[in-house]
Amino acid sequence: MALIPRGDIPLSHDPSARYLPWLLGIMCYFAVLASVGAVISHQLAARWDFALGSVVTVQIPAAVTEGSDAPRLSQAERMMRQLPGILRLVRVDTSRSVELLAPWLGAELAADLPLPRLFDLHFAAPPEVDLKQFEARLGELFPGAMVEAHTQWMSHVAKLTRAVEALGLTVLALVIGASVVAVIFAVRTSVSIHREVISILHLIGARDGYIASEFQAHVLKMALRGGLVGGFLAVATLAGVAAALEPEAVDSANLIPTLLGGLPAGIVEWILIASAPVLVAFVAWIAARLSVLGALRKMNP
């Protein structure tokens, strides 16, 4: 099945045998990095689109949120819950805010600090209500109340991550294209080097496919060898980057989440990333077949 070289044609001494594994190794290196970039951005973009792009924060000034204001507060909450498209309303716990501030202000001061009351309103999709108008209505209850949609700046971030994802995929496509060109060039050179042996094989009844399979197996061997090294170096690079960003995270358990910006990647994403070198090898294998067959068609059988 064109996987193991038989050795009828001495391809392992060709010039391409020296440079092609390196070249394909470098291609695999970039292929892995590009696919990691694409996968991370894809995950981030999807998550932000969903989670943050449709969240609205409501802030009610601290001064008016004492116990006596409870009826007004529940009226405000009712208004929030009645907004069209709302999924849930999350009261941001003040004690959590205190915790966050404690290291900066000292626990006591932080506890005494008049903190605003925060609500996160989660919508199924970016909300369509007129938030300005809603802010004005809340302002009647609590002067100074603020309604802030993350949609706008989040959509910029999401666009950016989508762009990074597209860039990753473009780099992957370019890497594959460059590998194809390198393989075609190497194979054509090899065919002309071994013209004599090929013509003998033809004369004793070898089909073009038989001859092509020898080249394919040879290219596959080189691509896998290069891919293994390139893939390994890519993972090492990622681990190095992760270590530089967050030194304590580089034990194996934490490495993967760290790489993905704290987002646990699914098995599917890792299969995608691991398949980059395999994809390069497969494409090289196919390119070898097509270019040998093309070159053989130009020879007399």
């Binding site: 038989r6 050795g7 009828d8 001495p10 042996v197 003998i200 094989l201 033809h202 004369l203 004793i204 009844g205 070898a206 089909r207 038989y210 068609r297 007399n300 059988p301």
Partner: protein
């Protein structure tokens, strides 16, 4: 099996090497092709294995018009033909064993079969000690025997041998001719191009002569086919049958 009809052959930019060639090769026949050096014997054989196409006229092989056999049809046809090239055309980086095994490998034979038949045949052609030798480490005559073994290993329907005994002494030549006769007895059509008149005289088979671009029959078919005239001691090795176990690749 092979039919030449007014065939003409010219290489690009030169006058016709062969012209108005008309003859037939019957299935299961054994024929010599003689002629002076440069007469066109190799070119004639080349037409028969589709290494060249006739410039004019009609050539039919195994009942097919050569002109209509496309690129994809050629390998199947060549597998029915064993060719001994005048210049051997062994693959330089493969051992004698692997060179001889090649037609079987190409035909997809099992490795176990290859390991069984190839050494047996190499022994028969007198190369027992040279299984792993590369062609350039072998003498001309030894290379020639590797080439012959490669041509016959797949028990072809047609054997085209171009000067197959040009580099061996008479004893070995006769022994190789016996190999061809064994094959012939099993149904292979054999065509041998040679300028070794003595050899042609020794074996009583029809003979074609190439001269001045024409092919003429100098010794007819139906002459006493089969047993060669008695020859010297060299024939005593011919008792074993090199092909009896062999399969069709």
């Amino acid at each position: 099996m092979i039919q030449f009809d007014k065939v003409e052959l010219r290489y690009p930019g030169s006058p016709a090497i062969l012209s108005d060639v008309n003859f037939a090769v019957e299935e299961s026949s054994f024929q010599f092709i003689t002629g002076a050096s440069g007469a066109g014997k190799s070119s004639l054989l080349k037409l028969m294995y589709l290494g060249l196409k006739p410039s004019r006229g009609r050539l039919s092989l195994f009942g097919q018009n050569a002109a209509t056999i496309g690129r994809d049809g050629i390998p199947a046809l060549r597998r029915r033909i064993g060719i001994v090239f005048q210049d051997f055309r062994l693959i330089p980086h493969l051992s004698a064993l692997d060179n001889v095994a090649l037609p079987l490998r190409i035909a997809g034979a099992r490795e176990s079969a290859i390991r069984e038949y190839v050494p047996e045949l190499l022994e028969w052609v007198g190369l027992s000690g040279h299984f792993d030798s590369l062609p350039h480490t072998l003498s001309g005559g030894q290379q020639q025997r590797v080439a012959i073994a490669r041509a016959v290993i797949g028990r072809p329907q047609l054997l085209l041998a171009d000067e197959p005994t040009g580099n061996v002494d008479d004893g070995v030549a006769v022994r190789l001719l016996y190999l061809f006769e064994e094959l012939h007895k099993m149904g292979t059509t054999v065509l041998i191009a040679t300028h070794n008149r003595a050899l042609v005289e020794r074996f009583d088979h029809p003979c074609l002569n190439v001269d001045g671009g024409r092919v003429t029959r100098v010794r007819g078919q139906g002459s006493r086919r089969s047993e060669p005239r008695p020859v010297g001691a060299a024939t005593s090795g011919g008792t074993s049958n090199p092909s009896k176990h062999r399969h069709r690749g």
